[in-house]
């Protein structure tokens, strides 16, 4: 091959290597940046799921001790059962009152991987003979999948009627 042709070929090769090299480096830098951004996001997710896992690790013994209320597949039957169960819990402490069971909703406070339904419930206890009855009733709630969103004694802040008014959240126990 003649020298001039070699020179042209080398010039072309240098230009091609420079362009190709710049393209390669730019491409790899973009890939590195993309991976870094993805890793930051993944680190946050990882931290969250590990925190959830650690939190749940402590709940093992609680799970065993929590007794469920009777449950049914049918929503209407489930509402009736819940209604009856709460009246039974009140009656066990010598209390009487009204129970309002609302439609179940998905609880957004749980991790997205877990679908847990909650049933908002309002309870109004007409009266009580002793303060200890209310304390015992509240204690009995925590043995079942209830949490208390609001408690009101001697006031009208909650929609239900009665001297003691409660806004509860019933967790439909997952199968």
């Amino acid at each position: 091959m003649k020298l001039d042709a070699r020179m042209t070929l080398l010039g072309g090769a240098i230009a091609a290597v420079m362009i190709g090299g710049a393209h390669l480096v730019r491409h790899e830098k973009l890939a590195v940046n993309e991976h870094h951004a993805a890793l930051e996001e993944l680190d946050v997710q990882l931290h969250a799921v590990h925190a959830d896992r650690a939190r749940l690790g402590r709940a093992t013994r609680l799970e065993a001790s929590m007794s469920d209320l009777p449950r049914a597949r049918d929503v209407v039957t489930q509402r009736a059962l819940l209604h009856a169960a709460l009246e039974r819990l009140m009656a066990a402490q010598g209390l009487r009152g009204a129970v309002v069971v609302h439609e179940p909703v998905v609880d957004p406070s749980f991790p997205s991987q877990v679908r847990v339904e909650v049933v908002p419930v309002e309870v109004g206890i007409e009266d009580y003979a002793a303060y200890s009855q209310v304390v015992a009733f509240m204690e009995s709630l925590t043995r079942h999948p209830f949490t208390v969103d609001a408690l009101c004694i001697g006031c009208g802040d909650i929609g239900s009627s009665g001297k003691v008014r409660l806004s509860l959240r019933y967790y439909v126990p997952p199968a």
Binding site: Q45, R53, D149, L151
Partner: protein
């Protein structure tokens, strides 16, 4: 090594190998035309030195103004005048002196027409070979004599005879004084004598005391005849200190031996054809560009490789994190009951403890009238209200202070405070607090 004496159409070639003392002749050839090209092409890897008989060339002693910077231009000008065509020049400064009060330089100058050099270059290009050295035959012969140590301040002559032609050279140190091709063998002695006379007349009667003879004339009878006629020492040139040849007849290869004897590092009379010079420049450029290509490739490849490695490592880290998240999420999906249990038992306040502590903290004589607790974004917080009937302000304040102290020691409550409210009819108070979660350990 190949040492070639080039005559235009034909050439004498010596192929030499390095021996224990100097060179050893491997083969000695006389080739022409296609055979020459084929031979040179076949021996293309051997370094080639050429001593050329160029028709348009000269070697001359010049006396020039002592201006070093202008020396190459003055010699080039002299060459143009002598040859009437562009030429490559060479020179050696022999000495400096004053003539008529002006400083001058004595210069042994030489030139070869570019046309002749291009003709040689074309022939070599056809054989796809490039010479390491191109010089003239007289300079090659001079180099041989210098190597043999017979050059000095006295002029010496060399008679080189071959079956075809005879040439006589006269040298003095670095000067090439006479180069004369003698017409025919029959008048050899007379022609040599004429050359000596010419030299004596041109160089102010300087006498040539030694005539070295090579080739056919170096035979005993011829030497004796020459010595008788010339009135100087006549001796055969012994080249055995430079080259050894077992059976080869080296008549006609004197210039080849001279080309082989040249020390390339210090030899001043090497010539390059313009096309070879351009080719050399182009070759240097191509080499530079090849180096540039290598450097550019490395400059692109090294950061590229480092970044690629980084990408690979990040990819592995990312895959590992994704895998860890997936496995943890998979585990979480299987734990809804545990989550609910945690929510119910750990996140909630200990209601029974709270209600008891609130009741116990309320002092005798005070009555709680209302209690409200709500779950807000920051957890459970509440207020309670009550009154202290039938007590003086000071006593009522003492009671509320005692209640505050008890609440502040509570396990179920935190940030508790009791605010007394003085009214006309009765003393009232308000309790504000937050509730701790069961799982918080408080």
């Amino acid at each position: 090594m190949l040492a070639m004496e080039w005559h235009g159409e034909s050439a004498h070639i010596l192929r030499l190998a390095h021996g224990s003392s100097g060179f050893r002749v491997v083969e000695a050839l006389e080739l022409a035309g296609v055979d020459l090209s084929k031979y040179l092409a076949r021996r293309g890897r051997d370094p080639l030195r050429v001593a050329g008989q160029f028709p348009h060339s000269f070697q001359r002693l010049l006396v020039l103004p002592a201006v070093d910077a202008a020396l190459p231009e003055m010699i080039a000008s002299e060459a143009r005048q002598q040859l009437n065509m562009p030429a490559a020049t060479s020179h050696v400064v022999l000495g400096r002196e004053e003539q008529e009060g002006e400083p001058v330089m004595r210069v042994a100058a030489a030139a070869v027409a570019y046309e002749d050099l291009e003709q040689l270059a074309g022939a070599l290009r056809r054989a796809a070979t490039t010479p390491r050295l191109v010089t003239t035959v007289p300079h090659a012969v001079q180099a041989l004599l210098a190597r043999l140590g017979v050059l000095g301040i006295e002029p010496v002559a060399l008679l080189d005879t071959t079956p075809a032609t005879s040439t006589i050279y006269v040298f003095r140190g670095e000067e090439v004084r006479v180069v004369r091709v003698l017409p025919e063998a029959g008048t050899l002695t007379r022609d040599v004598k004429q050359t000596f006379v010419f030299h004596g007349s041109k160089f102010r009667g300087e006498i040539i005391r030694t005539l070295w003879v090579t080739g056919l004339a170096a035979e005993g009878a011829n030497l004796a005849a020459l010595q008788k006629e010339l009135d100087c020492e006549v001796a055969p040139l012994d080249v055995r200190s430079v080259v050894t040849a077992d059976t080869q007849d080296l008549a006609g290869f004197t210039a080849c031996l001279g080309a082989a004897a040249i020390d390339l590092g210090s030899f001043p009379h090497a010539y390059v054809a313009p096309s070879h010079e351009a080719e050399r420049r182009t070759r240097r450029t191509v080499t530079g560009m090849a180096v540039g290509l290598l450097v550019t490739s490395l400059a692109a490849a090294i950061p590229g490789a480092v970044l690629s490695r980084q990408v690979q490592l990040l990819h592995v880290r990312r895959a590992s994190a994704e895998s860890s998240i997936q496995s943890t999420e998979s585990w979480l999906r299987q734990q809804p009951r545990r989550m609910v249990a945690h929510e119910v038992r750990e996140v909630q306040p200990p209601w029974e403890v709270f209600l008891r502590e609130l009741a116990l903290a309320t002092p005798a004589g005070a009555t709680l009238q209302s209690l409200v607790v709500r779950r807000g974004p920051a957890g459970w917080e509440g207020t309670a209200a009550g009154e202290i009937p039938g007590r003086g302000t000071l006593e009522a304040l003492t009671l509320t202070d005692a209640m505050r102290q008890r609440l502040q020691r509570s396990r179920a409550m935190r940030d508790a405070d009791v605010v007394p409210i003085v009214e006309d009819a009765a003393m009232r108070f308000e309790v504000r607090f937050r509730l701790s979660q069961r799982g918080s350990g408080t």
